[in-house]
Structures are given as structure tokens and as C-alpha cells.
Symmetry: C2
Subunit: 753 residues, 2 copies
Amino acid sequence: MYRIASLTACCVLALGMTAFAADEAAPAGQAALEKSFDANIHTSDLDSWMKSMASEPNHVGSPHDKQNAEWVLAKFKEWGWDAHIETFQVLYPTPISETVELLGGKKPFKATMQEKAIPGDTTSRAKEYALPGYFAYQGDGDVTAPMVYVNYGMQDDYKQLERMGISVKGKIVIARYGAGWRGLKPLLAQQHGAIGCIVYSDPADDGYATGAAYPEGPARPPQGIQRGSVMDMTIYPGDPLTPGVGATADAKRLTREEAKTILKIPALPISYADATVLLKSMTGRVVPGNWRGALPITYRVGPSDRQLHLAVKSDWSLKTLYDVVATMKGSEYPDQWVVRGNHRDGWVYGASDPLSGQVAMLAEAKSMGELAKTGWKPKRTIVYLSWDGEEPGLLGSTEWAEEHAAELKQKAIIYINSDGNGRGFWRAEGSHDLQHFVNEVTDGITDPEAQVSVSQRSRAAAREMGMNPKAREDIKAEAKIDADATKDYQMGPLGSGSDYSAYIEHLGLPALNIGYGGEGDGGGGDYHSRYDTYEHHSRFDDPGFVYDALLAHTAGHMVLRLADTEVPVVQAGDFADTVAMYLGEVKKLADNRREAAEVQAKAIADHVFQNTEDPTKTNGLPTALKPVPKFDFTPMDDAVKQLQKSAKAYDDAFTANAAKLSPEARAKLWATIQPLDQTLAPDVGLPGRPWFKNLVYAPGRYTGYGAKTLPGIREAIEDERFGDAVKYITLTADALNAYSAQLDKATEVLKHG
Amino acid sequence: MYRIASLTACCVLALGMTAFAADEAAPAGQAALEKSFDANIHTSDLDSWMKSMASEPNHVGSPHDKQNAEWVLAKFKEWGWDAHIETFQVLYPTPISETVELLGGKKPFKATMQEKAIPGDTTSRAKEYALPGYFAYQGDGDVTAPMVYVNYGMQDDYKQLERMGISVKGKIVIARYGAGWRGLKPLLAQQHGAIGCIVYSDPADDGYATGAAYPEGPARPPQGIQRGSVMDMTIYPGDPLTPGVGATADAKRLTREEAKTILKIPALPISYADATVLLKSMTGRVVPGNWRGALPITYRVGPSDRQLHLAVKSDWSLKTLYDVVATMKGSEYPDQWVVRGNHRDGWVYGASDPLSGQVAMLAEAKSMGELAKTGWKPKRTIVYLSWDGEEPGLLGSTEWAEEHAAELKQKAIIYINSDGNGRGFWRAEGSHDLQHFVNEVTDGITDPEAQVSVSQRSRAAAREMGMNPKAREDIKAEAKIDADATKDYQMGPLGSGSDYSAYIEHLGLPALNIGYGGEGDGGGGDYHSRYDTYEHHSRFDDPGFVYDALLAHTAGHMVLRLADTEVPVVQAGDFADTVAMYLGEVKKLADNRREAAEVQAKAIADHVFQNTEDPTKTNGLPTALKPVPKFDFTPMDDAVKQLQKSAKAYDDAFTANAAKLSPEARAKLWATIQPLDQTLAPDVGLPGRPWFKNLVYAPGRYTGYGAKTLPGIREAIEDERFGDAVKYITLTADALNAYSAQLDKATEVLKHG
């Protein structure tokens, strides 16, 4: 379900085969190997595989999803991999009936829950098992109530509503997509007492404003619906009934009522064609300026005079997941695993999301199979995974991670994820001790449009963003770093929204999420809709499959280098610097919050809010901010200082001695580095959501997909849980100290064998 | 034509009579006088005067404009003022024929240039002399060409167009209102080679997005057209044929061709109903995100496949202006004038703009007349002015200022301006040595909604704005100052857009522009349209004429105090602090520009812009920024230091000795202070526009109405005229030094008589 910025383009490109340079930095043998690998990546393969895999709806439980799994299995076997299908039994609701009905007026209006077919493209192959617009893991129900428009339905919007004196209690909220993860919208609605939730795609963010609508152009057409999961994945992803363990047939299960990640109120997504009718009927106060979308109406908050009838009934039976697991055994270090995955299930046809990434991954596997046929064997074991059930809640990847947790923690040296892909800019997010490695690989991949390395192109994009006079300060600061050619191009941190979550955040493994995207006018106008088809992807998202193939080259080079490298690729300096930056942010956050609370307290005492009140519009006092204590950050300051010291010592020792290590010392070094990142994920976990163990990287409780770094401290400050902040300053410092200590052991090995 | 933020409200208020407190700070006699003055301000007067004055179109040259002048004259006389009408003969074009026609398609589409009448309101009294939508001082012509959409049509938009590789040469541009003064849009179009210009009101900024459309609500309806002047008033305002001198019957005149302030290309405003048809037909590249409005279309840049036919023919004859001049002679200091004005001409009915301010001013005059009948006589001469011809280009006020320049420079101690007014927040802009005086007066005026002083309410609004986490840094800094109760509530600087321009910027007199506004949903949806009627104003802009009456109270108190005060009201510290702040801004501007030029130069050298290029969309290099030298700001640093020193000495001496001065010393003090502000406006004037003499306050060459402070330096840096910057650092420092020296003379008088 992950999307790298905007994935679409406005005209068909015919750049043909991807050009790429041999990597100067790689050893000669490696360069030759990569050249052979590259020669066997064919855009025509990707094209035909996507055409076939996206030919019918392929969501969890659909016949074509299983067929695709079997087809992928057969392909892996054909290419010489040791492959099998691993199944899980998960709770996965599918809709039986759905109603969105505006009552009153001359006649009731009913929303249309399925997009119409477009003559000549895949959508015209209407299968009755195509999923309608719906939200997985909403709470079934049948409610009738007035509507309240809540803008994006995020925390700040509810604060604003409160000041306007408008309550959603007993109402049905209508929210537009954007500004935060979809699942937070019904969750926050529920927390504020709403009895139902409608989410629609406003054309300001995703529709005609962004470009010509499909099929003329790539943008979302009026009838397009964004499906999606609303499972509360910020508590834990995966099967709601089996947190922490694999959802095998005989696993111990919670009841549906016990599962905290399932919502309690009914919720549905609708199109903007239908939303226009609902919003046009809205009465009440005109919205604040930043709540306006691009529909040709006066947006109003409500509550509406007219009632909305919202009803959802689902089939809550267990469904079977089909993860395809393919292994190529390591010739020298079979118990060190390079793990690579991409999901296979879509919401309907799923061409861009996820098949663009899936076919790239298959191209890698095919080419490695060819290499193996010529006699090459990876030194380490390579594990490729075609995940099922990502869309409803990272099901396939999470259950597999939980089922194989012990073995993964012992053997995996990395998890490399991709998801939907498209034309545009290289982007990587992940563990920052891999940042230098990622730069080494991508410095050797040439962008087919710019004819410079993909990292150099992304660096240029970051610099150009920083030159916008209106750019945020952090973006300007990043641009400054990226203008320094001696520094690595910076990766973002991982949050959630794709299959890496369990690996980095639950198991503490080093992980990457990679892909291309961001060019084009569409802004992902097919995202999670029935129009995410082969035709849409090949016309707008990656004409000629140029960037999908480029993903195969990039990920393939990573896997090949990791499989064969004699010494670990970790560079600790990047990680230390990044954590130091995060600590700076967290301290600034505390200072800003403290000042804001002081300013607000004085303003309340001075009756500022009463004095600005317009008597024709209620605006109560804002929620009072808690006074923010001065935190003692010393444990973190010390830990970061130590981390920077240990990192420098390791990196220096590595540069000096790594090439000269004895085989025994190398083995010792690997044994020390393999569990290194796991030190960041002690068993304690995050407050209220202990499944999330990583104390450096997490998805935000109130951002959903968006990452929160140093989450135990940062979110505690944001949420005014100041006791937790104090507690997690120590816990996070402990984790960083454990990382430093482990690194020191490795330095010792590098120095003295 | 001036508007204080948004002037409209969404529901009718019935607050009745305004409440206000007696001013504790004023001397007892003054308090009693103000109480008597206040008792004679009646909202019913304002209501009935507006109803009558706005009953028919009243633009320059219309029969009703002349009738209104004669009626105002009669009123002044009735109230005991010495009054007369002063006429000027000015070039003022009115349209004979106008065409906006989209060619091609099934049949040509023609824009409607006059808004339809609304049954039951003033607009249904259709007079044939109502002006259609048009731009005063555009250049007549008849052109046919493809269209290019240029967003707001400001400088940055043309930079963006250049990068997109789209030229407007030989095209007709279509721009939306907003982001800068209307007149810059056709001017910049012309400078970039366009042959015509259309401007429309996008509903994102001014239409259904902001509230329900008139007559249901206050917002601009689809057929509403914003008329206006496009005279290049940033060179000089007033009659284009008589710059610098009064446009009397026998004045020496330029030819129309010689007048630099008249545009060369045809230009017209249209409604958003009509703009929708033009923009929907547009072809070419999709616009950047921040170029989108709220019409339900995909905005495209063009050039359009279809041609637009634009033709304008005007009557360019001279027309007569009728300024009403009313005087109440000072009993003690008849040669010291307190000057107060508001214009009377509108674009059509002109209820909010300008009659809301005009009737407030008339209420002041009536009440002062009543005071005079009870025996009170002002010590100084009070001059009230009902200006004509403000809308086309500040004609009446500028010609009068130019005609009476010598006398004004010798006698005027202030010019107090107002214009359109409405419900909401107090706002003042002007000479900062009057800031403390403005605070003293407004601390004694109670806001009828908040029941605190109007200055306290505006202060609260500034503080609330600063609490928005997304507020700009300068807004946060201002909020911090406004939270300090020991400091004066801050005034803004004067730019242009109303009748103060000639007084402060050409003559160098101290001036204020004052009013209320900003509450309501409409965002000025009637502005410069046929719907600016009595009904619109009394329903939405100031129900009950509460804030229009409040303006009369406020301005009246200022005039009364200035007329009777024994000692000058100047407080120099506020001015010194404000200039110090402006200097800080200018230095930061230079530093930011220098850094931006360096960053850009490095980025160009590193091929950053080529590397981010999307081959499906041309994006050339940005215009290269000139390297910014390190300016020697020492003359300004020294001048500001001296100013702060001199200001403190004056303010301290004033506090210590002002009350004890002998009559002779007082006279000497007045003689020293009266010309004080004129030191800021030496004869040299601004580069390329020497009519603008004030070196501290000016309208921006590329903002139009928006002020640029320290304009000789600031604009030179912005426009990369670095030689001018160096030159104006010295010239501006000289002006400030002259101000300090004059102040020192006054201090000397305060200290030693």
C-alpha cells in the first residue's frame, strides 16, 4: 500500500532499455557479476508479467490471488530456486452489503460503491469478485445521523472543531483523504464519539486539480474510490487475532471482540462525485480557509440538517494467505540470510500497487537464477518473498516474521522491501547504518532520464527543494547537507505502510524500503482504486517499464553485494550523526512546546481568546496545553556522545583493518555485527503498544504511516505524557548504549582479531 | 479602493448603539468634549446617508457623483462649516465598447461585462450610466491571440513560466486576482510581451470557497466582476497628464502618449462564471500545485489552441472632479491644520467602498458642528475633505495635495485618512511617531463586541495569530511585542491604495490610515462590483452601522485632540524602534539574497536543475541570480543609532518639561515639530519614480498597494540594482540624520525654551 510520492507521468515515454554504468567502486569480480545480472533484466518480462498478474482482481481470498501465488511459485522453481508456499489463516473481513444514503430532500441519494468499467481496458473485464469501495477492519453497523465535515479528520481538526463548539458525538463524520493515514480518520472519529465515518478523495488533493482524470489523464476520476485498511496498525500490524505469533492453523487466537486493532464504528470510502452531493447538502458554519477542498461548493462544517444512513455488513470468516518463499542457499555462510520482499496482493487489479514492485523483484530472481545456472553461487543464503495480504494490514509479512522470529533474529542480516514503483526519483528509507552502503550501490546506477547516478539525481532534487524560498527550515538544512558531495545522500527513517514493519520495528533487524517515483501529473490518481490497471501503469506510471526495471537493477545489486561481501557493510558514523540530529529535534520540540504552553497560558490569563471572539461564530477557548517540564536529557546526551565516539572508532578500525582480517576474525566480526541493530529494540516496547520494540524508528501513533524517530521520547512530549518522556529518555539511552557497546566489541575484533 | 482585510459578516447583528468608555487618559475638559461629541454620533444618520448616497452609480463623471458632492457641501454648510467645492479637470477614460470573445468551438463564447440586477435591491434600479466591468487606464486595442494562464501574474509567476519554457509574447494572458495589486498584472504582462490581459476573480480567493454567494451570503457570485484602476500608480498617482501639479483648468498637460502611468495593452476584468469557460478550453501543460484555483477544472498553462478576441475602446475626454473642502477655523492656531479625508466616488454604487467611511466622516463633521454651536471652537483649523476620483487613481486627493503643496507643507500637522470600513478589528497604518498617540486614543474606544478597548482587541488578534504553529517568524515576533502590555500596539507602514499617498509619500507629512474590518465570511465579495450596495453593506459588512459609527468616534477623538492639544503628540521612540527593525529586515534580506545567489550558483555549476529535469516537461534553468555584494551599512547603522539616541532625548525631555513650557516655547516647539516628518522626504525621490519622495515609506514597485519600508535600499536589493542600494544607504541615512537633527532642535526647545 506504500507509495513513493507521486508515481505517475503524463505522456508515454519510449526510452527503451535502461542504461546503467558499471560500478567503479565494486571489486572487478563483483562488477562482472552485476553486469551479467543486469543483462538478464528485460523490461518485456516485467510488462508481460504485470499484464498477466493484473488481469483479474487479486486481493486476499480472490481466486486470482491464489493463482498468482502458484504462478510465482512455478516461476521461482523454473528459475532454479528452492521455493514453497507458506499459508496462514487470518481474520480478514470482506463486505457483504454497504449503504451510504442521504435522506430527506426530494428523493434519497445513494452513493455508488463500485467504479464503472472503462471500455477497452482491464476494468471492462468485470469480475464479480472485484472488491467494492470499502475499509478492511472497520466495525460493522447500521447508523443514521446528521453529518459533520471534519476536514482531514486529524487531531488538529478536532481541536479546531472543539473551538468552534461543534461536537461529532452521535454524528457521522465526513473526512477527506490526506494529511495523515486513512485509518486514523475513523479511529479519531470513534474516539470523539462519532457513530460512523465516511472518507472521500477531494479533487484538491487527488482528482481533477492535479491533472486530467482517467482515462484521459492519470488523475482520479469523479467516480474513483480509494479503498484501504483502517486496522489500527499503530498498535500492531498483522492478523488481529494473533498478535506476536504466526497465524498458523493451530495458533491461539483472540476473539474478534478482544482484538484492539479492529474499529468499533462503521466506515466507508466514497468517490468525490458522491461526496459532492453530501457536502453540497451540508448546512451550518462555513469552514476555516485551510479546510476547503476543490469541489465547486461552499464547504460547511455542519451538523447537516439532513440525515445520513450508513450501513456495513461484512463476512468475518478466516481467509488463507499465500506467502511464496524462495531460497537460494549460501555456499559459504548458509546461516546468514539476505531477505528481500514485495507484496503481491492488490485492492482490485493492483498493477502499480504492488505489482510494479513485484515484477521488479521477480526479474531479480530470474536473473539470479540465470547467474546460478552459469555456476555462480551466493556466499550467503538469499531469501525472496512474495507476500500476500499486505493491503489489509501487512498480514503476510508480519505473520511470517512472527512465525520465524527466532530464526530471523539469528540469521537475517537485512530485510530489503519494495512496493509500488514508478517513473521518477530514487528514494530509500531505512536503518542509517546502511546509508553508506545504499549510497555505494546507487552511485553505480544511472538514471535513464538524467544520465547521472540515481543518488545524484535525488540529491539534486533535495537541493532544488531547499532553494524554494518558502521551504521549511529542516528541508533547507537537509539540502545543505546534500550539497556537500563528501557526505552520503540522506535516507529517511522508516514508519509504516509496507512490509518492512515487523522486521525493523518488531524484530529490530536492519531494513530498507526502496523504490522510484514522483514524476508526473497524476498524484497517484489510481491509488487503491479499480483503475490501478496495467493500462494506467504502462501509460502513466512507468511507460516502457523503465523505472520498474531500474528497481530490479538497484535491488539486485544490493542483494548480490550483500550475499557475497566478505565483511559487513555497516557504516556507523551515518547512524550516529542521524541519531544526534533526531535528539536535536526532540530537544527543540520540548523547548517549542514549553514556550507554546507558556505563551498560551499568558494569553488565556489575558483573555486573548475572548477578546478576538466574533459573536456571530462561537469560538471557545483552545484546549489548555499542559506546562512542559525541563527534561533532563543528560542520559541521551551522553549516549549520543558515546555513540559518535564508538561509531568513529569502528569506522576507522574498519577502514584500517577490515581487508586484512583472518577468516576467524571475519566470522567473529559477522557474529558481532549481525545482532547489532537488535540492541535498538529491547523487549520493553513503546508505551501502550509494546509490539513496537524499536526505540529509534516507529510509525507515529497519530501519523500512521509517517515515521516518528526516538518515538518513546518524541511522542510522549507531543502527547503530553511527560512521565513517559522521562522514562524513555533513560530507556532509549540504554538502547543506544547497548548499540555502542556491541559496536565496541566489533571494533575490538577489527583491531585485535 | 482600500480594504481592511475582510469586511463582511455572515449574519445580521443587532447590537444597537455603540458603547464606549470615557478616556481616562484624556484631560477632564477633553473627556467632557469627547463625551458631547460621542453623543451626537447616530447610526441612523449613517444608515440614511449611505442609503441616499449609494442609491445610484456614483463614479467620476456620473450625475449622482456630482449630486452627492453638492449634497455633502450643503450638509457641511448646514452643520456650520466653511465649505466649497474645488474642481479639477482630469484625464479619465470610460469604456465605449468592450469584447472578450473565445473563438473556435461550436460557437464563439462572449463574456458578459455587466452583472445582472438582483430583484428588490439597489442593483435593480438599473441606471444606464452604471459602469460595466472595466479597467481604468488600460490601453485601448483590438487583439486576437491564444491565451496563457499566468496564475496571479506576479513576478514570481513569470519566472516560473520562463522555466517551463512558456512565453507570453504575442499572447493574451489570463490572470487571477490576488497576491499583489491588480495594476501589476497587465503591466507585467505588457513588460513580458503579451498583447492583452484578462483578470478574473477565482472563487478560491474570492467566491464560493469563502462563503455563500450574494444575495444568499456575502461572497462574490459567479457573475460578479471586480472593476478597478490599472494606472501605474507606483510611478505617480493622480491625473496622468499633470504629475506634480494640480490638474486645474489651465495646468500644463502632458499628451496621453507621454503619460507613463497609462498602459499600452488592452485589459479587462471578467467574472469567474466567464473565466470558467475560458480556462476549461485551455490546453497545454497542467499548472504547478500553487497555481490552482477553486474552479472545478484541471488548470492548464496553455498556450490555448483556441484564440481569444479582446477589444476595448474608451472615451478619453477630460472629466471634472468635485472635491468638497470644509474648514472650521482654529481659534488660536489657525495656521496649523488637522486634515481629515475619505473619498466619495465608487465604482458603481460604492456602499462599502467608500461610503461606509464617508458617512462616518460626515458624522464626525456633523457632531463637531453641533459642538461649535454650543460655543466650542477648535484651537487649530480642522479641514475635512470629501474626495472625488479616488478609484481611478487617487485623483481628487493627489491633485488637491499637488495644488496646495506649499501651504500643506507649511501648515498641516497630520493627514488622517479612512476608506471602506466594516465590522471587526481596529487597524491603523501610518507614521510611527504617531503610534503612541494612536494608542492613547484607541485605548479609550471600547469595542462593542468584546467590551475591551479596540487596541486591546487588535493586540489580542495579533497574539492569537502568533500562536499558530505555522505562523511566519515576523508574525511571531510581532505577537511577542504585542503581548508586552508596556509597549504600544504596533501600526503597519503605509503603502498605497487610498488617499493618504500624496500626503505622506509626496509631501512627507505625517499621516494615518485607519478603520475597522476583518470579521465575516465574505472576504469582500462585493468589492468593486455592482453588488457593493446598501443592502450588502447593511446585511453583511456592518449590520446596524455599529463599526462605521465606531470609526466616527475614533477618528473624531483623534481630530479633536489634535485640534486642541497644547503640545505636539509625537513620540519619537516608537519611530526609532520601528526604523531599527526595518534596517534589521533589510540587512537580513541582503544576507538571504546573497546566500540564495551562492547556493544557486553552486547548484547551476553542479547541474542540479538539469539533473532533476522531467523530460516530458520542459524546465529550463532558473534565471541566474546576480551575486550580492557585502553592503557597507555603516551609514544606516550610525543613523539609526543616532535616531534612537535623539528620540530618547526628545521623549525624556518631553515627559519632563512639556507641561511647563511657556507659550513662546510651545510655539517654537510646534514650529520645530510641524516639519519634522518632511525631513524623511528629500527632493531626490526614489529611483525611476521621483514623485515618491519619502525614503522610509513607499508602495512597492512590484507590490502596488503593499508597503516597502526603507524602499530606496530594500527594492534595490530585491531588484538586483546594487549600485542604487549603495547610493540609497547614504541618502536614507542622510534623511534619518536630518530627522534626528530636527528632533534635537525640538529637544533643545523642551530643555531650554
